[in-house]
Structures are given as structure tokens and as C-alpha cells.
């Protein structure tokens, strides 16, 4: 289309570069959190995550083997070993033996130990301590190295956050609580809305136009208005705070969008199918169950995804209707907010917890994007 006038190649390049920049800008923050969740707390605290992707120069304090490992070779006492796992590719530039002079010697060249004797650390991490006297003491010689180490990632954070039963701030329970809130709160409104949408789309009755207008109006009523009256209501009828209240609230709040989306879709179904079925003597109930429901699957899926994302990601409804003072019913979003408040500096826990909570919606998003887009278009472009 744009090639008709033979669009200039410089412009095409500009487009490619701008899109790449835009995508990078959009993905960069999330990617940062993902990378951080695979780093240890020390790594996160000492260097930016973007450095974790490349070999980085670090100052490390390591220890040689203890003197009890020394061997006597000729008239020399020798301690030998490796500072790093041989599988790791490191490159040591300088090293030292006291904290004041951590870069006293160049790697590969011999240095002097404080109590006499020599030390040699090779660039790849082999060391050799020699002395004419036997080495004494119980602990090995400290060696300060400045080394370039390859990127290193760990699954420890996930282990800790998901599977450690002693971790009171763990996400395992909150994960299941979130799931417990989400699934009924996604399924129940679909069914209720589908029937209502069918009536609004294909049945003639006085007041239909008005009802549709009401649904459109309720679409934008802020959740905030419902908090106090419903909390009061739930307390009065004895539901209090708990799953039942949260399910009902999510059902109520999800219905306008559900009815609106499904009605818009059902109105577009071919009239002949429904009229033929009516002529053949099918009841409205049969028409709905046997014809409309199966045909409306794409719209049902769209709404299901919306409602799933919304309930999974919700914080406000959970805070108001679900989580009581015991905290037994806490959900992931609430856990993360707690962590942000109390453990704001513990990025390894925060990043991992956040990613556990984000991962499920992201999976749903990438698997069912088609339906999500379709639903958005049906809901907005009208």
C-alpha cells in the first residue's frame, strides 16, 4: 500500500528503528525484573541487572586451602588449589593478600606473603603458596582478587519463594488463594451474562433499549462506589469477609462488560439460523443452549480472558471483600504490596514474587492473544 508511491528506503529504516526502540522501551522494565529474579541478593544489590547479562569485573574475597592441606616438596611447604570451579571461565587481572592492597600483584606473577613465603595466582585461578617454614593456623590464606566472571544465575529465589515451607512470606499459599478467587469469579458471570445477552440480542420486549443503555452506563461506574455499601451489606447478611463475598463482588462487577460483549457478538449472528430453529419448533431455551452458546464461543473466550486477567490482577476487591485480619485468605497482589512496604530493599524476594504473580497472566496472554484482541475490538470500536 505504502509502496505505491515508492516510499523512500530511508523512511523505511526510520520506521524499523523507531519500532525497535519502542519495543525495547516497553520490554526493558519487565525484562529487568525477570533477570533480577534469577540473581542472588548480593548480585542485585551490587550491580545493575543489565550488567548481569555480560561477564563482569568483580572484587571477590576468597580463601586458599587450610594449612592442614599443605604438602612438603623438597624443602618447601606448598599449598595448591583452584580459587574457582574449573568449569567457570574467569579471568583474574590483579590480586592481593590484604584488604588494604587488594590489587598488589598482577595475576600470573609471584607475590609476597606477609609472614614470608610467596604466592602465585594464575589468571585462571590456580594458586600456589610456598614457604620454607610450615604454614600454621587453622584457616586458609585470604586472597583478594579482581576477576572478570561470567554471568551467573540461580533458581534459589524461586525455590525460596515457592517451595520453602518455613518462608512465611512465601507465595505458595497466596498463589492457591488467588486461583481460588479467580476461577469461580470467571466462570459464574459468563453463564449469567450469556442468558441475559441472548435476551437483549434476540428477544423482543418492551424496555429492551433502555436496559441496553443501562448496561452501557454501568460499564463505567467506578468500583469505588460499591465498596462501602457492599461491605455494609455483606456484614449485615453475615457473609463478612471471605471468598463468597469476593466471588459475588467479582461476578457483579464483571457482568456489565460480559453482557455488553456477548450481546454485541450475538446480535451479529445470522438471523436465519435462529428463525429456522424457531419455525422448526425449538424452544428459546433449546435455541440458546444448542445454537447460540456454541456459536458464541469466541466472545465467551474473550470475556473469560478479560475476567481472568482482571480478577487475577485485582488488589482492591481482595483488600475490601476478601482478606480478613487473620490474613489466611491473602492473595498474591496483597503479598507483593506487603513486601514492597516491609522488605522494600530485598529485591530478590520482591522480583521473584512479582514474577510468580505475573507469569500466569502472561502465559494466558500469549496463548490466547487472538481472543483478547477480538474482545477488545468488540467492546470498544462501536
Amino acid at each position: 500500500m505504502d509502496n505505491i508511491a515508492g516510499s523512500k528506503s530511508s523512511l523505511t529504516w526510520a520506521v524499523h528503528i523507531s519500532v525497535a526502540a519502542l519495543v525495547l522501551l516497553w520490554v526493558f522494565p519487565t525484562f529487568g525484573l525477570l533477570v533480577s529474579s534469577f540473581r542472588t541478593s548480593d548480585q542485585i544489590a551490587t550491580s545493575g541487572w543489565w550488567k548481569a547479562m555480560f561477564p563482569s569485573e568483580q572484587n571477590l574475597v576468597l580463601r586458599a586451602n587450610a594449612p592442614e592441606m599443605q604438602e612438603q616438596i623438597g624443602d618447601l611447604y606448598v599449598i595448591e588449589g583452584e580459587l574457582f570451579d574449573p568449569d567457570i571461565e574467569v579471568e583474574i587481572s590483579v590480586y592481593g593478600v590484604s584488604s588494604q592492597e587488594i590489587s598488589a600483584f598482577t595475576a600470573g606473577q609471584a607475590g609476597v606473603l606477609r609472614n614470608g613465603g610467596t604466592i602465585t595466582v594464575s589468571p585462571t585461578g590456580q594458586y600456589r603458596l610456598t614457604n620454607t617454614e610450615p604454614f600454621s593456623g587453622s584457616r586458609g590464606q585470604r586472597i583478594f582478587v579482581t576477576a572478570t566472571t561470567p554471568p551467573e544465575f540461580t533458581l534459589e529465589n524461586y525455590q525460596n519463594v515457592l517451595f520453602d515451607p518455613d518462608n512465611r512470606e512465601g507465595m505458595a499459599k497466596a498463589f492457591f488463594n488467588t486461583l481460588t478467587v479467580t476461577i469461580p469469579a470467571t466462570i459464574i458471570p459468563i453463564l449469567i451474562a450469556a442468558f441475559a445477552a441472548y435476551a437483549l440480542a434476540w428477544m423482543e420486549f418492551p424496555g429492551r433499549a433502555l436496559l441496553i443503555a443501562v448496561v452501557v452506563g454501568l460499564l463505567v461506574v467506578p468500583l469505588q462506589l460499591a465498596l462501602i455499601p457492599l461491605l455494609k451489606l455483606h456484614n449485615e447478611i453475615g457473609i463478612g469477609k471471605g471468598y463468597l463475598g469476593a466471588w459475588m463482588a467479582h461476578t457483579g462487577f464483571g457482568l456489565p462488560l460480559a453482557i455488553y460483549l456477548l450481546r454485541n457478538y450475538m446480535v451479529g449472528l445470522p438471523r436465519e439460523i435462529i428463525e429456522n430453529a424457531r419455525v422448526d419448533g425449538a424452544s428459546e431455551f433449546q435455541i440458546f443452549v444448542k445454537i447460540i452458546l456454541p456459536l458464541s464461543f469466541p466472545a465467551l473466550a474473550s470475556f473469560a480472558i478479560f475476567q481472568f486477567l482482571w480478577t487475577w490482577n485485582d488488589l482492591l476487591v481482595a483488600l475490601v471483600f476478601l482478606i480478613d485480619s487473620t490474613g489466611e485468605t491473602t492473595v498474591m497482589t496483597k503479598q507483593i504490596v506487603e513486601l514492597l512496604g516491609t522488605r522494600g530493599g530485598n529485591w530478590e524476594i520482591l522480583a521473584t514474587s512479582a514474577f510468580v504473580s505475573i507469569s500466569v497472566p502472561l502465559l494466558v496472554f500469549f496463548a490466547m492473544q487472538k481472543y483478547l484482541v477480538r474482545g477488545l475490538l468488540a467492546g470498544s470500536v462501536k
Binding site: V19, G48, W49, T180, L218, Q224, M248, L340
Partner: protein
């Protein structure tokens, strides 16, 4: 009972309850109330057709009424009353007239929230729509556009709380003698900043740092909708413009933009609604400190920290009032379309 089991039970009871209700109420109508046979068959069929829509609508209407319509009225009433605890431990509601509104108007925090909401309303929908339009226009022209779209759209699936964590890391601050772990400070120092800034504590600017989070989330939404609208533009109009010698910028601003004006409005108002309700981002990132308060968080504060239902309801009514013009606009559009 195990909550998971309770959840499963709720699904079963909820779903089978719904199905049973719809099935049996229809059966009752057809077999007992108005059977389409006998000497009144014709009249009965008409009656059944009159009643049936309401059978289909009943559960939805009940839920909508109870969970959305009634709260609007009830919040209005509560905003005009004070909740007091009587000596015997029960609560009572006394008429307060406009006292709650007056009290609210005397609080600097309320005006701060209102000012910030105004800023959010001014900037977030505009920036998100502009970015969305840019992304839609650019990605439509290249081969890997769909992948790019999908990545820009991705934040839509991330919770506000998750996004808050993501951006807290971006805005993180370390003392000057340490390596910065927040991207923003790292860039700031590389570009010649003298010392790292704690971005979220700089009044006024910090609101913009919070807005960036919502823009980041909403741009994908704007892009998806606008991209569909752009593709819906008749090709002849663009071809004609190109033949007449219009350059790509003229094609975009003079031919395409006017044709998707309505869609831009829809996107704009939809994001506006989201902005008015924005709560999680502020709650998780600053909790209204350092002059970042917004109405929804102010309301939550009143409700659960100050335990003041009167002023809480009054601030909820302010949000409702701000939403109303869009509500009316939406309803009018919907009615126009149905005629």
C-alpha cells in the same frame, strides 16, 4: 473447609444452580403457567413470549442492581450521613447534610488528590493514545509488526501491582558511592547527573513517574484498537492522496486521522475512566506520600485507615461525578448506534 474445595464446590453449585434455574423456570413457563395448547394456546404463547425475556434477564438484573446500581444510591445516601458507634456497640447513621463534603473541602490532601487527578487526566490518556497511535501506524508497515505489537501489548496482562514492582526497580536509588541498580539513575548519572535522585520523593515530578506506569500499561490497548481502525480505512482515499502527491505525514495527519477520529475518542475516554479509578499503582508505590495522592487512594485511606465512611463516600461521589459526562456520552453513542 479447604478453600480450594470450597471454590470447586462454588463452581459446581453456581454453574448447576444457574443451569437449573434457567431450565426449570423455562419448563415451568411452558408446561404449567402458559402451556401452548388447549383453547387458550394462542394467548398463552403470547404471554410466554412476554415473560420469557425476564426469566433470562433475572439473575443478571439482580446482580447488576445489587452490586452496581444500588451502591450508587447508597453511597450518595452515606455521603450525607455520619456513622456513629452508639454506647451499646451498635452503629447508627445520622443525617449530616453536606457536612462530609465541607469537611473534605477543608482537607489539603483532598485538593492535592484532585490536582493530581487533574494532571493524570490531562497527561495519561493523551500520551497513551499518542504512543498507541504511533505504534499502530509504525507496526502496520513492517513485517515483524505483529511481534512488535504483541510485545507492546504485553503490559496489559500485568497487574498494576506487578507493574509497580517493575517500575520501583527502574526508579531505585543507591548511595552515590555504590553501583546504581535502577536504570533511571544509571542513565541519569551517565548523562552527567551529579548525584542519584530518589525519583518518587520529588513532588510533582513523582506524579509523572507514577503516570509513566499507567501509560506503559495502556499504550498497548490504544495501539490494538487504533491499529484495527487504521486498517479499516478505505484504501482508495489513501491511494488518491498519494497519487495527488501527498507525503506520508500528510497522508497520516490529513487523510487517516480524520477518519479514525471517533475511535480515538473511544480510546481516549476508555483510558480516562481507567485513570479516574487508578488506585493500585499509587497505593503500592507511594501510598499517596510526597504529594502523590489521588482520589481513589484518598477514598481508600478515609475508608480503612480513618474509618470515616461519610467522607469516604463523599470522595467516591466525586469520582462518580467526574465519570458521569463519559457515562452520558457512552450511553448516547450506544443509543444512536442502535437506531
Amino acid at each position: 473447609m479447604n478453600p480450594a474445595l470450597q471454590g470447586l464446590l462454588t463452581i459446581i453449585i453456581g454453574v448447576s444452580g444457574c443451569i437449573a434455574y434457567f431450565y426449570f423456570s423455562n419448563q415451568f413457563l411452558d408446561k404449567v403457567l402458559c402451556p401452548p395448547r388447549g383453547k387458550n394456546a394462542g394467548r398463552n404463547i403470547n404471554r410466554a413470549n412476554l415473560i420469557r425475556p425476564w426469566l433470562f434477564l433475572m439473575p443478571a438484573l439482580l446482580a447488576l442492581g445489587l452490586y452496581l446500581a444500588y451502591p450508587v444510591v447508597e453511597t450518595l445516601r452515606l455521603s450525607l450521613t455520619n456513622r456513629i458507634t452508639l454506647p451499646d456497640g451498635t452503629t447508627a447513621y445520622t443525617w449530616a447534610g453536606l457536612d462530609n463534603y465541607k469537611q473534605m473541602a477543608n482537607e489539603p490532601k483532598f485538593w492535592e488528590a484532585l490536582r493530581n487527578n487533574a494532571l493524570w487526566l490531562l497527561f495519561v490518556p493523551a500520551i497513551a493514545t499518542a504512543f498507541g497511535l504511533l505504534a499502530a501506524q509504525l507496526t502496520d508497515r513492517i513485517k515483524w509488526g505483529n511481534i512488535a505489537k504483541s510485545l507492546i501489548f504485553m503490559p496489559m496482562a500485568i497487574s498494576f501491582v506487578g507493574a509497580a514492582v517493575i517500575f520501583k526497580l527502574v526508579y531505585d536509588t543507591r548511595p552515590i558511592d555504590q553501583d546504581q541498580i535502577g536504570v533511571l539513575n544509571a542513565i541519569y548519572l551517565t548523562l552527567g547527573g551529579t548525584e542519584p535522585k530518589t525519583w518518587l520523593t520529588i513532588p510533582l515530578w513523582n506524579s509523572f513517574f507514577l503516570m509513566a506506569v499507567l501509560v506503559w500499561i495502556q499504550t498497548g490497548f490504544a495501539m490494538v484498537i487504533l491499529s484495527a481502525a487504521l486498517r479499516g480505512i478505505p484504501e482508495e482515499t489513501i491511494e488518491a492522496a498519494i497519487i495527488d502527491g501527498a507525503n506520508p505525514f500528510q497522508v497520516f495527519f490529513k487523510i487517516k486521522m480524520p477518519q479514525i477520529k471517533n475511535t480515538i475518542m473511544v480510546v481516549w475516554t476508555t483510558i480516562t475512566i481507567v485513570v479516574l479509578k487508578v488506585f493500585d499503582i499509587v497505593f503500592a508505590m507511594t501510598n499517596g506520600q510526597w504529594e502523590t495522592q489521588v482520589l481513589a487512594n484518598y477514598m481508600f485511606d478515609k475508608l480503612f485507615r480513618a474509618n470515616d465512611w461519610g467522607v469516604g463516600s463523599a470522595s467516591a461521589m466525586v469520582i462518580m461525578l467526574l465519570v458521569t459526562p463519559i457515562l452520558v456520552w457512552n450511553v448516547r453513542n450506544a443509543r444512536k448506534e442502535m437506531q
